[in-house]
Amino acid sequence: MSFDIGLTLLVLAVAAWTIAARETFVAVVGFVAYGLLLAFVWVRLAAPDVALTEAALGSGLTGGLLIGASSRLRRSQSPAAEEAPGVVLKAAAAVLSILVSAGLAAIVLLLPDPAPTLAPQAAASIAATGLGNPVTAVLMAYRAIDTLLEIVVLLLALVGIWSLAADRDWGGRPDRRVSTDPVSVLTFVAQLLVPVGILVGIHIFWVGSVAPGGEFQGATTLAAMWILASMAGLVDAPAVTRRWLRLVLVIGPAVFLAIGLAGFALAGAFLAYPESHAKLLILIIEIPVTLAIAATLALLVAGPPERAQR
């Protein structure tokens, strides 16, 4: 219990530092540290799958995105800085925040006891899905429609980002070209780490059916390896009009949707799996979805096209 209290205080201290820091870059570094501590909190809450997702996506990829953004914003400093709100406004904001926190804390105290839970229902049907990890069963079998919609939302965000390209860069390559320096230490690390990272990503995805892990965590690791290779200049971002790129992005949700529609014929409802083939169908969905999500996440971090297509 004292460990939990110490961890809570640490998380709150780092979060307060993120808000109170004067420089934006310092705040982003604090945010990355806060994300990693939050992953620790998730482990204490007996949610290792969420801990993996928070560490990889919430802290890792988001941190990379924000560090890149803060360094770009620092370079193009807008001369007319927005005025900071006055003392009265800050005091009003503080009062509002305290009221909201107090309201949420009251809700936490008033949660019903005994806690309502769906765990028994999840445990009862998990044998039919052939999976061993209940969170994966919820994501891919019980609430598969949520996962399908989530993948589509990722694609929509990517389309939104691509649409922000300048007119002359339309359909070009995202990010600046980084030239490879063969003796640079970053190149060495990328050449060493990327194969290991790809293996780890595939392992996390594969083991997600019986242990903590899954397709989102594995796809995030694969996307991070792509970002590392592109930072070292070993690979260049593809032009966003390339057909193979768009095929990789679309094949995940397309297979998911196809199997979902086939559920009408095979088991009587959308995204219903026939009982004997549930595990096989889930695997057939998961492999292209992992590839699609990895590509989508890497492209989300890369940003809108900035180099005109040749």
């Binding site: 809570t8 709150l12 934006t24 909190v41 953004a69 804390a105 765990a119 999840a122 939104g160």
Partner: protein, 102 residues
Amino acid sequence: MSAATLYGFCAAVLVGLGLFGLLAHPQPLRKILAFNLIGGGVFLLFGAVARRGAAAGFGGDPVPQALVITGLVVAFAATALAVALLLRLMVAASQAGSRSDG
């Protein structure tokens, strides 16, 4: 007080901190950071509810945990879109500024 309740309080304070940061900082990137803090707090609240629902041999109720995973991914997509919009806004503003000067 159980660990779940303690982390529920932590989540409440995080939401408050994030809300204050959202209102008090004029720079858009700080607002995006504060918004992510609010999101983390809300997900933590889900996690506390999931932990209280531990039953049937699981450490926590798997349904809120799966919802949080979905939420984390969607929050990342939203952050990426917000950052791209912000960078484009900065470029457009600096171009407009230089055009009005020259």
